[in-house]
Symmetry: C2
DNA sequence: TTGACGTTTCCATGATTATCGAAATGAGGA
DNA sequence: TCCTCATTTCGATAATCATGGAAACGTCAA
């Protein structure tokens, strides 16, 4: 029963810290929007207005946290969001920070992206 | 249709940073477990093995981020998790970091205790 | 009013993070 | 091979964060 491997608190701290910066959160959102094809380092830097070395500094935090993947395409280095990692990240928050037994937190209600999924629950 | 007021990226960075520390994440989880009754500052410090001034330092980060509430009960100061804030926090992540249009991220799947969802995609 | 308790503020110290320029590395194209 | 482009590494600097002791503050009981 694939219960989505639960991340440990130590990793959570690393991942939270990785996202806890204006530029890194922006970079991550950029990669989420781009999807699996990803975005080249230089283009991320350009869109965020960062010098190359700063981009590397920030994106390596995301890389170390396992939130993004890295691959090489010719001369470019392409970064892409790791959705499985984000899955585990959010899963931890919902299971550990949303009140187990407490009903005050309604995690699933807000999403429903936009495609009408007739999910009964 | 109460769509859960969407937090802005700036607040997200503040909240992420607030949780991105071993002691603060532990404190927050403690408060989540305690629920609405909350826990006194001294007891949080004792359970986490922190000196009073350090506890104050860390918990004020959570307070500034709006993730916890503070109230006074006699000589004690009681802190409690703000579940609405965590709701918004997770909501932002699911809407902005989970791939809009991309199906690779299955936000709600992990929680749903264990009922078999026949999600084809 | 006095005293004890719980908590916060203040202060100094050390550690970590963020930034940018310059140099080094790696990967094509001529 | 030589040159250029894309990215990373290195080094220095400034800023922010984390820690704990000591003092101050507010609250309650006697």
């Amino acid at each position: 029963m694939e219960t989505s491997n639960q991340p440990d608190p130590h990793w959570m701290v690393t991942a939270l810290a990785a996202l806890a910066h204006e530029h890194r959160l922006a970079a991550y959102r950029l990669l989420v929007e781009a999807g699996p094809p990803g975005v080249a380092a230089g283009e991320i830097a350009a869109r965020l207005g960062l010098v190359p070395s700063s981009l590397t500094f920030h994106i390596q935090a995301l890389l170390r946290a396992g939130l993004v993947t890295q691959r090489r395409a010719s001369r470019h280095v392409i970064y892409a969001a790791d959705f499985a990692a984000m899955n585990g990240f959010i899963g931890f928050l919902m299971q550990n920070c949303c009140g187990q037994g407490v009903v005050a937190c309604a995690p699933c209600a807000p999403v429903q992206t936009d495609f009408n999924q007739a999910q009964t629950a």
